[in-house]
Amino acid sequence: MRYLSRNSFCLIRLRFIPFVLSLLTALVSSPAGRSQENPYIVAYDHNLEEPGSLEVEYFSTFGTQRGGPDFHAYWAELEYGATAWWTTELYLDGQTTFGGSTVFTGYRWENRVRPLKNEHLINPVLYAEFEDINGADKILKEVEGHDVEADYAVPNAVARQERTREMELKLILSSNYKGWNFTENTFATKNLSNEPWEFGYAMGASRPLAMKGAAHRCNLCRQHFVAGVELYGGLGDRYSFGLKDTSHYMGAGLAWNLPSGWTFRIEPTFGLNDNSHQFLLRWGVSREFSGFGSMVSGLFRGRQE
């Protein structure tokens, strides 16, 4: 890119604008589909995105910080159902430290694959993620290794100098049983520089407030609300596996899945030991666009003669 002249770069940008506008048009004109999301913010279950659907999500984490200012971390997600057995997702992360600065902290690209074609009592999903973030990232999307609260007290100007490129592998084991969802995630993370493997876990249970659908359209019917709890934390690293010097959290969440395709989630979370942030308030909003893939494919096909 650096070898391009200023004029040619402007030309590329001009050509890019109609493409972006076309994508936005596709997004706006895609019909909304009601999603049935669980309230988990950290744990994953085995329910993948419907094929061709795009879910645009925004999440926030407000965190208290001992030994430093509190923070508000946030991330945007684009989650796409490439097939019925493969979901791919892009994250853009950022955070604001109160009394400090606001910084873009990096991106993540994750993929979830369902290896078994039928539903079983326990359903495995394989997860692989690449992340390129800096040390100021505070979204706490996963707690791994020996992550502790004190790590987050470093000022942004210093923390953002540290660059982390990691691969994360996760095994998701999840069950849907009599309306309940139970899920357990175990993961291993490898910093691509010379750092040891780090480990962590997340687990959750959730259930809709009603099992039957109503015979009329409604926004406040109980079946649109799903309540749940999740528990997550670090498990040390290759050289010191276990609970020593790790942090752990428990949150109680509620998801409200609206028929219009919007989902709202909120989850107050509490640290379970002295290494953890005492309190995190997480919330998020998402909207599912069904048929987005067909709309985009249509754009490409329209140019073919």
């Binding site: 890119m1 890019f16 493409f19 972006v20 994508l23 019909p31 589909g33 009601r34 049935q36 669980n38 279950d45 329910n47 993948l48 419907e50 094929p51 061709g52 795009l54 684009l78 796409y80 159902g81 490439a82 097939t83 019925a84 057995w85 493969w86 791919t88 892009l90 873009f104 991106y107 369902r114 074609k117 039928n118 539903e119 849907n176 009599k178 309306g179 969802n181 809709p208 099992m211 039957k212 659908g213 109503a214 015979a215 009329h216 359209r217 079946q223 028929p259 069904s290 048929g291 987005f292 893939g293 067909s294 985009v296 494919s297 490409f300």
Partner: protein, 148 residues
């Protein structure tokens, strides 16, 4: 890599994945294996199940609401069929055991783009079965000549 470069490359890559993963194959109706053959693969344990909501007068209406929210995007309005998924008014579906339809909803046909709907509680899946079965009755009514 600067942020704008990253965003441009990401959007292009993402669009590539979307375009490549959505070939929009029309559902096969004839040929060696019809999409409806999946119904025949339901285990006897499921095919023999009766709909526990068969006598619930609201089940089909509630299933209709769920169908609009979750299924209409692919199967078309009132299950008439769409570019991505077959009609549910076909005799293969209407003559299928309720338990076989329930099995398809619960397991999906993930290799053929039918998602797994086990995230819906069982009663909601049976409500969907009630609605899908009611589509046959509606077709029969529509086929009858109207009285002058």
């Amino acid at each position: 890599m600067k942020l704008y470069q990253f965003v441009i490359i990401s959007v292009l890559l993402f669009s590539g994945v979307v375009a490549a993963a959505d070939p929009q194959e029309p559902p096969k109706r004839s040929g060696q294996e019809s999409v409806y053959d999946e119904l025949k693969k339901a285990p006897d344990k499921y095919s023999g199940k009766t709909n526990p909501l068969a006598n619930d007068s609201d089940a089909a209406a509630a299933g209709g609401v769920l169908f609009e929210e979750h299924c209409e995007g692919c199967h078309g309005k009132e299950g008439m069929g769409g570019k991505k998924a077959p009609s549910l008014r076909a005799e293969e579906v209407q003559n299928a055991a309720p338990g076989a339809i329930f099995w398809i909803l619960s397991n999906g046909v993930v290799r053929k783009k039918m998602p797994v709907w086990s995230k819906l509680p069982e009663p909601e899946r049976w409500q969907l079965v009630s609605f899908i079965k009611s589509l046959g009755a509606n077709s029969a009514q529509a086929a009858q000549p109207s009285k002058p």
